[in-house]
């Protein structure tokens, strides 16, 4: 009976091909939107965590304020000073490097070309802590750091935009009102997940940036790399303890800074993208519901159109539940067809979308199954009312229907 009803439903769908297509369009769009959103979201999450973990597991990042992530800032918490970095370096054992970082976005000019990029003021340990390779030239030395010399190391994107195919080492870049010697070129790291280009940067000695660009002695963040033979947890505790002391935080008060390892940062960033994924998925799910209403609408039309057919079936001896099942199966077949088409569409969209966004394509069987199940369920829910209407028809009335 079910098999026959299924064949019947498929024939009915084929008979009104155009109408069936338009009917399932809502479900197709809903399913493909949900799956694409979730798949791309998961890819982005994965890419973020991959990228941060690639920095290594022995890196700690210290920032003023308690939170990290878009929309949360460190307002109200005092900035660090160079002295904080010195204190960490001198008073805590087991640290390989303490790297203060301060940055500023500026317009660069060279060879009569303009380019906007972020300038990172830091110490030369920053290159090793961030796993940067030098392709040409060198990084700044101790003397340049102490003097705040006008020297810089640039990323691949900055080179391309300002110098074209030329070797930038030995040339000059105008940064605001001062001119800066390019002493090194960084190896390309490529695109990052959040869409930003990691090679679009200029690194200078911290003091240079403080004096000539930010005009303050503040340090925005500090990166600490812990020696391989030292304990991360111990280093974290000691840093927290020392910073609390230096920032005069009372015993009962909360930290006004945070010390995070790369795993924690990855988790924090991932949780943000996860929330986004969830939200987008929820919006897409609403379109699935709308698709269900479309199915209900067309099934009601179909029941009215086929009143005579239903009358004949009932007169011949079809039971109420058999007619109900027939129309229910038709609705479910329509909705599931929409689900299948949606899944195919979503796969295409996700693969090309993740290529475009430079995130990995992660096939998620769960969300595909779930979406398919959901669309079938929508067929049941929204097909029930029309199917029940068909089953409850009075055979005499139905036979007389024109």
């Amino acid at each position: 009976m079910i098999w026959n009803a299924l064949l019947l439903a498929l024939r009915e769908i084929r008979r009104n091909l155009m109408r069936s297509f338009l009917t399932i369009l809502g479900i197709v769009i809903g399913v493909s939107a949900v799956i694409t959103m979730v798949t791309l979201g998961n890819g982005a999450t994965r890419a973020v965590s991959d990228q941060i973990s690639s920095l290594g597991s022995n890196l700690l990042i210290i920032r003023p304020g308690q939170h990290l992530g878009p929309g949360r800032d460190s307002a109200g918490s005092a900035a660090f000073k160079v002295a904080d970095a010195d204190a960490l370096r001198n008073q805590i054992n087991g640290l390989a490097a303490v790297v203060p970082v301060s940055s500023k976005s500026v317009t660069l000019v060279a060879m009569s070309r303009n380019w906007s990029a972020g300038v990172t003021g830091t110490s030369r340990d920053w290159f090793s802590a961030g796993k940067w390779q030098i392709v040409s030239g060198r990084v700044f030395n101790d003397a340049e750091e102490r003097a705040g010399a006008a020297v810089c190391v640039i990323g691949e994107t900055v080179r391309r935009e300002l110098f074209g195919g030329l070797d930038p080492v030995g040339r000059k870049i105008r940064v605001k009102q001062f001119s800066c010697d390019v002493i090194g070129l960084l190896a390309s790291k490529g695109q990052s997940t959040m869409g930003n280009d990691q090679d679009d940067l200029v690194a200078m000695p911290l003091r240079t940036v403080q004096r000539r660009l930010t005009g303050s002695v503040d340090v925005a963040t500090m990166m600490v790399s812990v020696r391989d033979d030292a304990s991360m947890d111990l280093a974290k505790d000691q840093i927290t303890w020392l910073m609390r002391e230096r920032r005069h935080i009372g015993p009962g008060d909360n930290d006004d800074f945070s010390v995070m390892d790369t795993r924690q940062i990855a988790e924090t960033l991932s949780s943000t993208t996860k929330v986004m994924t969830g939200l987008l998925g929820a919006v897409a799910a609403v379109s699935l519901l709308v698709g269900g209403i479309g199915i209900m609408n067309i099934m009601l039309v179909s029941v009215t159109e086929r009143t005579r057919e239903i009358g004949i079936r009932l007169a011949i001896g079809a039971l109420e539940r058999e007619v109900l099942l027939q129309f229910l199966i038709e609705a479910v077949a329509l909705a599931s067809l929409g689900g299948v088409v949606g899944i195919i569409l979503a796969t295409v969209a996700s693969i090309s979308g993740s290529a475009l966004m430079h995130v990995p394509y992660l096939f998620n069987p769960m969300i595909n199954l779930l979406s398919f199940g959901f669309s079938a369920a929508i067929g049941v829910i929204f097909g029930y009312v029309p199917a029940r209407r068909a089953a409850r028809l009075d055979p005499i009335e139905a036979l007389r229907h024109e």
Binding site: A315, I316, G317, L319, I396
Partner: protein, 239 residues
């Protein structure tokens, strides 16, 4: 004859309520034996179709009782009546009422589908039924490709494919010319005589009523006359 196949006592059928109520049947007593061939006649609006619907278990009486093989139909649920139709009754309607865009073969298979018969069994029996109404080889045609007479023969094939004990036909020749009508009547006569199927038929035409063994005349929802007539001697068959 022991128990009649059909026995109606004091059957009434009222449509609507209050002032708009209309009494279509006003106390019908009728009993039909197995193997009979009954024609129901009467002016328009006299309640013929209402009576047929009740006989066919598509409708239930407002009052009185209807026993089919001793079974009180008014006490049955909707689904129980559907099962009774499925297993014991065959219908032929005035408007043919075949499924459009569905082949003759599939139309005839439909009742077997609901009886849960296998695909091969369905195909065989439907083919045999079509052959018995003279439509051998027409199975793949859809109703739109068939003449009125052929459509009505498909409808008859569909009604008898399950081997019903009672065949109900409400104006089976109403839409057909005389020649086609005679073919249909010959077919019903054959079924009645050769297969012993009880036939109850509504007709407006005295010519067609002649084929029956018994003519019941309805006027204003009551039986006005009930006459048993001699069996036709001329051309009982199609020959």
């Amino acid at each position: 004859m022991s128990e009649p196949l059909i026995s109606l006592t004091e059957v009434t059928r009222r449509f609507g309520t209050g002032a708009a109520a209309f009494q279509a049947l006003r106390g019908v007593d009728l009993s039909i034996d197995e193997g009979d061939f009954v024609a129901i006649m009467g002016p328009s609006g006299s309640g013929k179709s209402s009576l047929m619907n009740i006989l066919g278990c598509l409708d239930t009486p407002s009052g009185g009782s209807y026993r089919f093989r001793g079974l009180a139909v008014e006490g049955l649920s909707r689904d129980q009546r559907a099962l009774l139709r499925r297993h014991a009754l065959g219908f032929v309607f005035q408007g043919f009422n075949l499924l459009a865009r569905t082949s003759a073969q599939e139309n005839v298979e439909l009742p077997l589908l609901y009886r849960g018969e296998s695909a091969t069994q369905r195909r065989e029996r439907a083919r045999a039924a079509l052959a018995s109404v003279g439509l051998e080889g027409w199975g793949h045609h859809s109703p739109a490709e068939l003449s009125g007479g052929q459509q009505q023969r498909v409808a008859i094939a569909r009604a008898l494919v399950t081997g019903p004990s009672l065949l109900l036909a409400d104006e089976p020749t109403g839409n057909l010319d005389t020649e086609r009508s005679r073919e249909i009547m010959d077919l019903l006569t054959d079924l009645n005589r050769d297969k012993g199927i009880t036939v109850v038929m509504v007709t407006h035409e005295a010519d067609m009523a002649e084929y029956a063994h018994r003519v019941v005349r309805l006027v204003d929802g009551r039986i006005a006359s009930d006459v048993r007539q001699a069996e036709r001697q001329d051309g009982g068959g199609r020959a």
